[in-house]
């Protein structure tokens, strides 16, 4: 049956938007960001993140990594350019749509941003409660994840009584508990020892293999070298994409 002429292009787009069919996760087109009347901290940023991709975001301190992350987790709107998330332009989104899109994004903040009056368990459970999951499911999923990050026995502790590393693990568990489509992590292994750090990177790899798009902002050359993923390199407000060295080597080996 030929549907051309029966189904209008905008209806097809509406269907794709509704069901999230093979959409680019993030698309930055000539994005610029400035705070108030100051100079642009991000200038003419262009890149695309496809579903299931894994990128590192790196660059010197003050290069604008956190600002770029905040644009990606819809914490602020760009001052110019077009930002498209999951196939929809963010400047066309209303508050309800923004909330729905944010539910698909998990964020690990550099300063963790845990709620100090809630227990570790409740902090991790928060994204599930926000999206209204049944309590039984929350209890099971959160308990399992708490065990996995090695804090099963500390679930009733309040964040201020926990070490930096423990808080970071809680922040990571909170970011991944709702199985987000996009995971953004700002220096997620900064306060962790190598063993826990690599376990968490493995968790990110597992999530990535299940289809989650991942962006990790990091300074750690060690981690970037170990996991060969493309790098978004920020410098002086501009961004370039670098493929990992190992990838180039393997590509050359494959050709010859």
């Amino acid at each position: 049956m030929n549907l051309i002429g029966i189904v209008k292009p905008e209806q097809v787009q509406a269907f794709k938007n509704a069901y999230g069919v093979h959409k680019t996760v993030i698309k930055f087109e000539h994005i610029g960001l400035r705070y108030s009347v100051g100079p642009e901290v991000l200038s003419d940023i262009n890149f695309t993140l496809e579903p299931g991709s894994f990128h590192f975001l790196t660059g010197p301190s003050g290069a604008g990594k956190t600002s770029l992350m905040s644009l990606m987790y819809l914490g602020r709107r760009p001052t110019r350019g077009i930002l498209t998330m999951f196939g929809q332009r963010t400047n066309e989104m209303n508050r309800e749509q923004l909330a729905a899109f944010r539910q698909r994004i998990g964020v690990v903040f550099q300063d963790f941003r845990l709620l100090p009056h809630l227990s570790a368990f409740d902090n991790v459970a928060l994204p599930l409660r926000i999206i209204g999951r049944p309590e039984k499911e929350i209890q099971n999923n959160v308990s399992e994840l708490m065990e996995w990050v090695g804090l099963g026995e500390h679930s009733r502790m309040l964040p201020p009584t926990m070490s930096g590393g423990q808080q970071q693990r809680i922040a990571i568990a909170r970011a991944v508990v709702a199985k987000p489509k996009l995971l953004l992590a700002d220096e997620p292994t900064g306060n962790l020892d190598d063993e826990i750090g690599f376990r968490l990177m493995n968790l990110f790899e597992q999530l990535n293999s299940m289809g989650t798009t991942i962006v990790i902002a990091t300074h750690s050359q060690k981690i970037m070298d170990q996991l060969e993923h493309p790098r978004l390199v920020l410098g002086q407000g501009h961004l370039r994409v670098e493929e990992p060295k190992g990838w180039i080597r393997r590509t050359i080996e494959g050709v010859f």
């Binding site: 994004i105 964020v107 409660r129 309590e135």
Partner: protein, 318 residues
């Protein structure tokens, strides 16, 4: 089913982020120091509203009782002193009183006619002059009390006409002016009570708005975090609304209880002292019901104010 209710309730509590024991609000609202202040403020406002409203009810009751006592009644006064300055003696006054009685007796608007003698007049003036005061030699007017079946303007005019025919200086007092003054005063006082109640309502709204706004400013970073995790404005608003509702309920119950206790005390004191003006000042069932509605009205005002304020502030956030 009954056994299941607590479970359902707890589940619902969790859904709106407030199950105590399991976890607290997403925002630390219940541990906030301003909580007690807000509850006390609502208690005070509810108490004042109860006082104003019950005062209005009491005034209304008192006015209608006084009006009922004077309604469809009239007094005929035969002045002791004539227009030419000479005095009527008791015999002449009695003669005129009897004449009036016989003239008015058959009229359809007249229910009863009572001639007041010197003893009756003595009783009337005794609160001012004392029981033992002798009225011998005093030029007292002659009084005739009328109870009317109907008191239309036409009826009153007919009675006046009959009285003028007997003696032109006979005066008919229907208490209209006095009643009009009483109603005017009562109306003004009740309007003042209404204004006070409205001001109390506005003050409560302003106080709740201020409290909610200050809490939202304090927890701005946490609210932003909830937004970033995908919380809708409605999800955040529900927590503030529920918090305000619980506080308002606590405050309103305290305020209403104190108010009712005070009203009982006032009633008891008024009854015990035998105050004539405050006689039978107990609240009617409908009035008591209106007062008992006040905590719920306070809760509704608090919840709606919180809802409106939170949604408004959130709409200005990114």
């Amino acid at each position: 089913m009954i056994l299941k209710l607590p479970v359902v309730f707890k589940r619902k509590e969790r859904r709106i982020g407030s199950a105590q024991g399991k976890r607290q609000y997403d925002l630390p609202l219940s541990t906030d120091e301003g909580t007690v202040f807000l509850a006390l403020l609502i208690a005070l406002m509810t108490f004042l509203a109860i006082m104003a409203i019950s005062g209005s009810f009491a005034l209304k009751g008192m006015t209608s009782r006084w009006a009922d006592g004077l309604d469809k009644q009239a007094t005929i006064e035969i002045p002791a002193q004539k227009a030419d300055g000479s005095f009527r003696d008791d015999e002449a006054i009695t003669k005129i009183q009897n004449h009036i009685k016989s003239a008015l007796q058959g009229m359809p608007m007249i229910q009863t006619i009572t001639i007041l003698d010197e003893k009756d007049i003595g009783k009337m003036v005794s609160p001012w002059l004392g029981e033992d005061f002798s009225m011998d030699g005093l030029p007292l007017p002659g009084l005739v009390s009328l109870k009317l079946r109907s008191a239309t303007e036409k009826d009153i005019a007919k009675i006046r006409e009959t009285l003028t025919a007997i003696a032109p200086d006979i005066h008919l007092d229907t208490h209209e002016r006095w009643l009009a003054d009483l109603f005017r005063l009562s109306g003004a006082l009740r309007l003042a009570a209404l204004c006070i109640t409205v001001i109390i309502g506005f003050t409560t709204v302003t106080a709740i708005t201020g409290a909610i706004r200050s809490r939202m400013a304090i927890y701005k970073a946490d609210i932003e975090l909830l937004h970033l995790m995908g919380a809708r404005d409605y999800y955040i608003m529900k927590q503030f609304q529920r918090h305000a509702l619980i506080l308002a309920f606590k405050g309103a119950v305290i305020g209403t209880s104190i108010g009712l206790i005070l009203l009982l005390l006032i009633g008891w004191v008024a009854g015990d002292t035998g105050a004539v003006l405050l006689e039978n000042q107990g609240l009617g069932g409908q009035q008591l019901l209106s007062i008992l509605c006040l905590p719920f009205i306070a809760c509704a005002i608090a919840a709606l104010t919180a809802r409106h304020t939170v949604l408004r502030v959130l709409s200005l956030m990114p």
